[in-house]
């Protein structure tokens, strides 16, 4: 550990939906605590009382900074950046999750501060030395910053969630910075689902091209429901229209690291493996015994998924019956 010669302070940019903090924020706060214990959370949004309430309970936080304005109801990078910029000089580190939220906003702030951002950090060695995957996780870079202010996006799955009880953070409101808007929010197309969220589910069932069509993909949903699992997909399955982009796991999709990842009809391109190979237990089901997915699977089953999935479901039913 390099000696800290100056006072440090870490600002975490909260990802939330104006109602609740998203779990990615909790992972980033945990990462922040590896840098210093003076951690502040910035909540930009509209009518965020409940989000602020959740933030106040977080043990690791010293201060919650809020910018509550109706113009911030939907996330527009051009509108949020000036607010972050207005308080940036108070910090040595500004952290955001490496989700589409953080990836969209933080580089914009970095450019305005003439800072080189460090993306997708999975490990923190000291306050200036960070570990991040490159080449879809096929190599790991250990990088050191010489900057006084470091902007960092954190891969949520690489860190635990912080403690969400016992906090006593003070709350400070900061003014909205009005910026001429060249970008207008139209709407969001979000599929409502009762299934667990892909990014933090304990079990993920993913389907690939082997499912052959959108109709067959229902088999993945049915199996997922039996295991209370989230549903993921390979890029090939999303490209072919079997399922929406929000389910894509991989280098250019979501990073997941559940306790159990079951890949069905997915061959295992390196771009897909990049998104799931940190899962604790990996199961691969594929009719092609040569499929690369088997090389990283803890348990492989070679077989026709259209026979295997129904069998799996009846075996799971049997198991549940025995247990109840």
């Amino acid at each position: 550990m390099r000696q800290k010669l100056f006072k440090m302070s870490v600002l975490v940019l909260a990802e939330h939906n104006n109602q609740n903090l998203l779990s990615s924020t909790l992972n980033v706060i945990e990462a922040a605590s590896k840098i210093d214990n003076d951690i502040h959370l910035l909540i930009c949004g509209s009518r965020v009382e409940n989000v602020v309430g959740e933030g106040k309970n977080i043990l690791a936080l010293k201060k919650i900074i809020t910018c509550d304005n109706e113009n911030l109801e939907n996330v527009i990078a051009e509108k949020i950046s000036p607010i972050i910029l207005s308080i940036a000089k108070n910090y040595t580190h500004i952290l955001a999750p490496a989700t589409t939220y953080g990836k969209n906003i933080l580089p914009r702030v970095a450019a305005l501060l003439d800072t080189s951002q460090i993306s997708d950090v999975i490990g923190i060695e000291d306050h200036q030395t960070f570990i991040r995957p490159i080449y879809a996780g096929n190599a790991i870079a250990h990088v050191q910053s010489s900057q006084e202010l470091n902007l960092i996006t954190i891969r949520p799955t690489a860190f635990e969630r912080c403690e969400t009880m016992g906090g006593e953070a003070v709350v400070e409101n900061i003014p909205y910075v009005n910026t001429p808007s060249l970008t207008r929010f139209i709407n969001r197309e979000v599929t409502q689902s009762d299934r667990p969220d892909l990014s933090n589910a304990k079990i993920v069932i993913s389907g690939g091209r082997g499912l052959e069509n959108a109709d067959n993909f229902k088999l993945i949903y049915e199996l997922a429901d039996k295991l209370k699992a989230a549903v993921g997909a390979s890029r090939a399955a999303v490209d072919s229209g079997y399922i929406g982009n929000e389910h894509q796991v991989g280098q250019t999709g979501k990073m997941v690291a559940p306790d159990l990842y079951i890949a069905i009809g997915i061959s295992g391109a390196i771009q897909h493996l990049a998104g799931m190979k940190d899962s604790k237990v990996i199961v691969a089901i594929n009719k092609d015994v040569e499929a690369p997915i088997f090389k990283i699977a803890d348990y492989g089953l070679s077989g026709d998924l259209f026979q295997v999935i129904p069998e799996l479901m009846s075996e799971l039913d049997l198991l549940n019956k025995i247990e109840s």
Binding site: S81, F185, V281
Partner: protein, 249 residues
């Protein structure tokens, strides 16, 4: 309307990369190099805009050593009109790349800049956002749909929750997702024709931009490998293993 497309030369996506034994980086010598995949989507979209009569001129820009001329020739073989190589032997951080692109934008004055959303080598996912901030232009990141009408951009961008639809004023920066379109292959006659298209070279050293790296790579290591697993014979065995050995169901 003038469209600028940023193109990066990277190790081909099919290559299984190798970490150098001295941990100084990833081996890029004698390895197949190609256009960064999402940059191909940016090239394709620019060509489509020209075919639709929306773009009047399409320009490819790459930053790198002389070898980056390859990817510019590929971009022109696919259909872009001309190209610019900002030449440097140094490896640039995304912020320096954005500064070089900004200086080219100021000279060429495009109405739209298209980039891939992320380079598959450093996986930084920054350059488009940085460039739009430096230019103070609106940004549309990770787009999977684009429509231009009356100097107004309608985009769909892929976000973790699904799709977000935005409207942007021109000039603007867009970063392209792989699902935006299907990049065309360059035909042999077009590859020949591309050899005659203009390729200008500017020396990054003469642009007056500070490209000194702010981040030092201490070492590059192999990722932790997973220990070899096993094949199970049937579903019953799989369930037994998951229940009693891995204890995950």
């Amino acid at each position: 309307m003038k469209v600028l497309v940023a193109v990066k030369r990277v190790v081909d996506y099919k290559v299984q990369i190798r970490v150098k034994s001295d941990q100084s980086g990833v081996e890029t010598q004698n390895v197949k190099m190609s256009v960064n995949p999402p940059d191909e989507n940016a090239i394709e979209e620019a060509i489509k805009l020209k075919e639709q009569g929306i773009a009047s001129e399409t320009i490819a820009v790459s930053i790198g050593d002389d070898k980056s001329q390859d990817v510019l020739r590929t971009a022109m073989a696919m259909g872009l009109d001309r190209s610019i190589l900002a030449k440097t032997d140094q490896l640039l951080e995304p912020l320096a790349v954005a500064k070089v692109l900004k200086s080219i934008v100021e000279k060429e004055k495009p109405d739209l800049v298209l980039l891939g959303k992320q380079a598959i080598d450093d996986d930084a996912n920054q350059t488009g956002q940085l460039l739009s901030a430096l230019l103070n232009w609106p940004q549309g990141c990770f787009i999977s749909k684009l429509k231009i009408e009356n100097k107004l951009l309608s985009i769909s961008r892929e976000i973790d929750e699904g799709i977000e639809n935005l409207e942007l004023n021109l000039p603007a920066i867009l970063t392209c997702d792989l699902r935006l379109n299907t990049p065309r292959f360059a035909s042999l006659p077009n590859i020949m024709k591309a050899k005659k298209k203009p390729l200008d070279i500017v020396d990054v050293g003469e642009l007056g931009i500070d490209i000194t790296p702010k981040i030092k790579t201490l070492k590059v290591t192999e990722p932790a490998s997973r220990k070899a697993g096993m094949m199970v014979n049937d579903v019953k065995e799989l369930i037994q293993k998951l229940k009693y050995e891995a204890k995950v169901i």
